[in-house]
């Protein structure tokens, strides 16, 4: 389990380092091209979905509690 988590984290870190390799001119393009707005929009969608998932999770928990009372 820990091995798998470690591997996942390492792979995640690898993707970050590969982003750092992006050349400066390309970096400039992304900044002037407002690429961060695109990222923000995707993050907003993800956050809303996760909040909704938490609400669903809570409902299932109440269901489990009722099951336990029986």
């Amino acid at each position: 389990m820990i091995k798998k988590t470690g591997l996942a984290l390492m792979l995640l870190f690898l993707t970050l380092t590969s982003y750092a390799d992006v050349t400066e001119s390309r970096d400039m393009f992304f900044r002037s091209g407002k690429y961060n707005v695109v990222v923000a929009v995707l993050v907003i969608i993800f956050v809303f979905l996760v909040v909704y998932l938490f609400r669903l999770d809570r409902k299932v928990s109440t269901l489990e509690d009722k099951e336990g009372e029986k």
Partner: protein
């Protein structure tokens, strides 16, 4: 295998959304024309302009059979081809035009569109980028421009990219994420509407639970549409909220469905909740459609594309490459929305069963 037979559409939805996120974020935007310097010239004598491209890939050398880069200016529907085009680097061109001399009485200024074409980029435009001064010329005299020009071949682009839009730049990608939220909201609320009608017809409790679950998820997608739209508008239009008919229609539509949830919460009698909220939903959905589709379409002015013509956008705003990502995104999000709604309905039904026993 039986699981797959009834759940395949959920996997399809997830795959389509992943596909649209992958291509929507990685595809290049462009080519486009950022600026022309100088942007103010006299067209009577020969002149040279520098053209700055966005995400262009002009090459120093073109094969003779590739034909090189060609540049035109277009004014009043007439074209003038550049006599000489020099590639400075991947994003800059120098174009030299011959002067146009016509013997007529009045002088005038028109904004010209820059047309660029090569084998790699196909044809692309820089709309109204160059103010052209014609001295002592009349518009009728422009006929000789056409004679002096070779018309672009209207070649297609050789690589996959999203269209370049002035001021939008990279954010044109958001079309693949923001707009599907609204399509999904409309479809999910339509399903909710149908379940409400079923409930009124049959009186079955399960239809009421489903109608409520779909209305909740429809509201979720409406809120996501507003949140993503406000963030995008803040950059593209300079303010998160404008007096746009589509924005106000969407806001009132979302408020109607918030009211639906409040209505459900405010009545204690289980049987009454189902009937009253079903009637409310049946009335609310047609009004919602009028607010979000019909009224913005009738509006004279809108910052959103598509006012006064098509439902969501005019053909001008989507190129074929964008469509290949946008339509799968719409379908994918609708399927994912239906999946989340169905999950909610199933959980709500279990909770409801426990309470009623």
């Amino acid at each position: 295998m039986q699981g797959f037979r009834s759940h395949w559409w959920k996997a399809l939805g997830a795959i389509l959304v992943l596909y649209s996120i992958y291509l929507g974020t990685s595809t290049e935007v462009g080519p486009g024309v950022v600026r022309v310097t100088p942007d103010n010239v006299s067209a009577n004598s020969s002149f040279e302009v520098q053209i700055e491209g966005y995400n262009t890939h002009f090459k120093d050398h073109y094969d003779p059979k590739e034909g090189g880069v060609h540049v035109w200016y277009k004014v009043l529907g007439k074209l003038q081809k550049a006599k000489e085009v020099k590639v400075v680097d991947a994003n800059h061109l120098l174009a030299r035009f011959d002067g146009v001399n016509l013997n007529t009485d009045t002088s005038f200024v028109r904004s010209g569109t820059i047309v660029i074409e090569d084998v790699h980029h196909g044809m692309f435009l820089g709309s109204k980028m160059l103010a052209l001064h014609f001295d002592k010329n009349a518009e009728a005299g422009l006929d000789s421009l056409e004679n002096a020009s070779v018309v672009p071949q209207k070649r297609d682009q050789a690589y996959f990219s999203f269209p370049y839009r002035y001021l939008l730049y990279e954010t044109i990608r958001n079309l693949n994420f923001h707009v599907p939220m609204w399509f999904t909201m409309i479809v999910i609320l339509l399903i909710s509407f149908i379940y409400s009608i079923s409930h009124l017809n049959t009186g079955k409790r399960v239809y009421d639970i489903r109608a409520n679950a779909f209305a909740k998820v429809g509201l979720l997608f409406g809120l996501m549409g507003i949140a993503t739209g406000m963030f995008w508008a803040n950059y593209a239009w300079g303010t998160p909220w404008t007096k746009d008919p589509k924005l106000n229609g969407a806001a009132v539509g979302v408020l109607m469905y918030i009211a639906y949830q409040i209505l459900r919460g405010s009545i204690d009698d289980e049987g009454k909740v189902a009937r009253i909220s079903a009637v409310y939903n049946v009335l609310a959905f047609p009004i919602f459609i009028v607010l979000i589709i019909v009224l913005p379409r009738l509006a004279e002015f809108s910052l959103h594309p598509g006012a006064g013509d098509s439902v969501g956008f005019s053909t001008y705003d989507l190129n074929n490459h964008l469509r290949k990502v946008f339509y799968p995104a719409v379908l994918g999000w609708i399927l994912v929305g239906a999946w989340v709604s169905q999950l909610t309905a199933r959980i709500d039904k279990l909770i409801n069963d426990k309470e009623w026993k």
